[in-house]
């Protein structure tokens, strides 16, 4: 004799569980949608606004798409003003500072994971991290005076050096943990097989650290690309000014050139967005690197 009461209770419980599983899926999707909108909206708004004239930009209620698409903002930014130079400067400074940070930081991170430095290791590692704990503005004046005495003011080189010092601790710490995840067995095997230690590092360890390298490089690039404070302090003329300075400079004493800011902002984001798209496969792997085992 089937107990219909308890059977019905079981069925309802099963239906409820099924509904709840589906509901959780919808909630997750909603949260992701909100996060996505919050992340993408500013870029999209910049792009849309860069094609509007001043009147349309401040229309109430807000106008999404321009009725009278205009190129006046882009012309003003890139032709009337040296924004192409600014972007090139930003590019040079970002690429070189990332390159030097990685060149020095990756071997440093490797040394911290692999070599026995005794008690010094902990202290060195902490000291490297501690340089990032300071608000950068604290170092502005000493750095200005230092570069002034070296005759490096208003040069791209000064920015490359300054940004490298900011990025280096970050690279060391990121690569330290990525490289620690690569089993020691692999480079030891390479060394027994006949390779030098550096050869084993170059041929075996680095290829396996590609995700970590990509993730770290992208972060360094973004940091350097967006940096305003030191660019403002250390550079003066167009020859060395970077994109953030150019954009900030559109907020003048008399008025704020919103159109040009939008055009420069959107165009300025593009290189990084494109680069991130290209390496995103590596980036995602790099962010979840902990799960990978050799």
């Amino acid at each position: 004799m089937v107990d219909t009461v308890s059977l019905q209770a079981d069925l309802s419980a099963a239906r409820l569980r099924h509904f709840w599983t589906k509901a959780k899926g919808w909630i997750a999707l909603a949260v992701i949608a909100v996060a996505l909108v919050q992340a993408i909206f500013p870029i999209v708004w910049l792009a849309l606004n860069s094609l509007k004239n001043r009147l349309e930009m401040f229309a109430v209620p807000p106008l999404w798409f321009s009725m009278a698409v205009t190129s006046e903002n882009y012309v003003a930014t890139f032709i009337d003003r040296p924004f192409v130079t600014y972007m090139l400067n930003s590019l040079i400074v970002a690429v070189f500072s990332t390159f030097f940070s990685m060149l020095i930081g990756v071997p440093a991170g490797y040394a911290l994971t692999r070599f026995d430095l005794g008690k010094a290791k902990r202290h060195i590692a902490f000291w490297i991290l501690s340089t990032r704990m300071m608000p950068p503005i604290v170092t502005v004046i000493p750095i200005y005076l230092l570069f002034s005495s070296m005759g490096l003011l208003d040069t791209k080189a000064s920015l490359v050096i300054a940004y490298t010092t900011f990025n280096l601790p970050f690279v060391v710490w990121m690569m330290k943990s990525y490289l620690a995840d690569i089993p020691r067995d692999l480079e030891e095997s390479a060394m027994v097989d006949g390779d030098t230690h550096f050869g084993a590092f170059w041929r075996v360890v680095l290829p396996l650290a590609k995700p970590g390298l990509a993730a770290t490089a992208i972060f360094c690039l973004i940091q350097s690309w967006n940096e305003l404070l030191f660019a403002l302090i250390l550079t003066e003329t167009t020859g060395a000014n970077t994109l953030p300075i150019g954009i900030a400079g559109r907020v003048t004493q008399y008025k704020t050139e919103w159109g040009e800011i939008c055009a420069a902002g959107f165009a300025g984001s593009l290189p990084i967005i494109i680069f991130a798209f290209i390496v995103q496969k590596h980036l995602v792997r790099g962010l979840s690197f902990g799960a990978v085992k050799g």
Binding site: D185, E188, S189, V192, D193, G194, D195, T196
Partner: protein, 350 residues
């Protein structure tokens, strides 16, 4: 083809000595096994021979050369790691090729040697695969192939079979032994599995807590253990131990009385006897008495566990043997097959 010599080798981390006074002479073409439980120092010893760790004290010779200050790459050894250490981003072909590429062997010659090595270990069809596409046994063969491709003077193997399932392990053991015989290369092999040691070795070094316990052939180690540790470590199921004292050639312990021993009188003695040297008998000539704890059929025989006072004694009995759990049973031992150890020092007395 060379031998290996270790003289008074120590490895210390600060005050802690993980390898203490190891003295070893490995003959040319010998298959020497370093056997012991986890943490006994066997892998550290091997790593010092390979050059991956430096010896704190002592001398290590490969052939006539003192190698303490030589880098691994200059010692002409090949090592198979427990994890195989296959380069995950390289195909099997490239993995095998690596040692030759480093030495700038020309491409055509490399190709020939890779195919030859692959044939030796039966992985010719796998050359284009990545390590992650291989099974455990296949990876192991690739690791072996990579180690033999250079025809080194010395093979070092660090528990290469421990990641394989039982059946594959048995198969690979046979293949390893055959390969070593074919290549006539001196081999030093680390394992915690005493069956591997017994089946593969020409000689075995039993280690415990950083110290060598005994260096002898497998037969000698089995039949003539130097101390309590070696006696208990070798043999499966392991040797039975009973505490007691010896007087006038008679061992007396709780639930046990064995006569006919050739041993000096001693107050605190541990008597060891292997399961296969105990037989079930009647109460009249029984020497060890207790209650049946369990009877386990292993296929070709059975293992009878008897609770003697607070200790479980195991005897190997006929596969058709049956007994009620809790029933009283008597065992007798062959006195010539009993070992006596000083309970305090654990050294063998008789």
């Amino acid at each position: 083809m060379v031998g290996v010599t270790l003289r008074h080798v120590y490895k210390k981390f600060g005050e802690l000595a993980v390898v203490k006074d190891v003295n070893l002479e490995v003959a040319d073409q010998e298959f020497l096994v370093l056997l012991g439980p986890s943490g006994c120092g066997k892998t550290t010893t091997m790593r010092m021979i390979a050059g991956l760790d430096s010896a704190t004290e002592g001398d290590i010779y490969i052939g006539e050369r003192r190698v303490n200050d030589l880098l691994p790459r200059d010692r002409d050894v090949a090592m198979v790691f427990q994890s195989y250490a296959l380069y995950p981003h390289m195909t099997v072909f490239k993995n095998l090729e690596y040692p030759l590429k480093i030495r700038k062997v020309p491409a055509e010659e490399r190709r020939k040697q890779v195919i030859d090595a692959a044939r030796r270990v039966n992985i010719e069809e796998l050359l284009d695969r990545l390590p992650k596409q291989l099974s455990g046994g296949q990876r192991q063969r690739v690791a072996l192939g990579r180690s033999l491709i250079r025809r080194p003077n010395l093979f070092l193997m660090d528990e290469p079979l421990s990641n394989l399932d039982a059946k594959l392990r048995v198969q690979m053991r046979g293949e390893l032994k055959h390969l070593q015989h074919e290549l006539k290369t001196t081999t030093i092999y680390v394992t915690h599995d005493q069956i591997e040691a017994m089946t593969l070795a020409t000689r075995v070094v039993v280690m415990n807590k950083g110290e060598m316990q005994q260096l002898a052939t497998p037969k000698e180690i089995y039949n003539n253990p130097a101390n309590l540790f070696v006696a208990g470590f070798i043999g499966s199921p392991s040797m039975n131990f009973l505490q007691g004292s010896v007087a006038n050639g008679v061992f007396e312990g709780k639930g046990a009385r064995i006569a006919g021993l050739h041993a000096p009188d001693a107050a605190a003695v541990t008597l060891g006897v292997r399961p296969e040297d105990l037989t079930v008998c009647g109460a009249t000539d029984g020497q060890v008495g207790g209650e049946v704890f369990s009877v386990e059929l292993t296929g070709d025989s059975s293992l009878l566990s008897v609770r003697v006072d607070s200790v479980l004694v195991m005897a190997r009995v006929d596969k058709d043997f049956t007994a009620e759990i809790g029933a009283k049973v008597w065992l007798k031992a062959n006195p010539t097959r009993c070992f006596l150890f000083d309970t305090r020092t654990e050294a063998r007395i008789a």
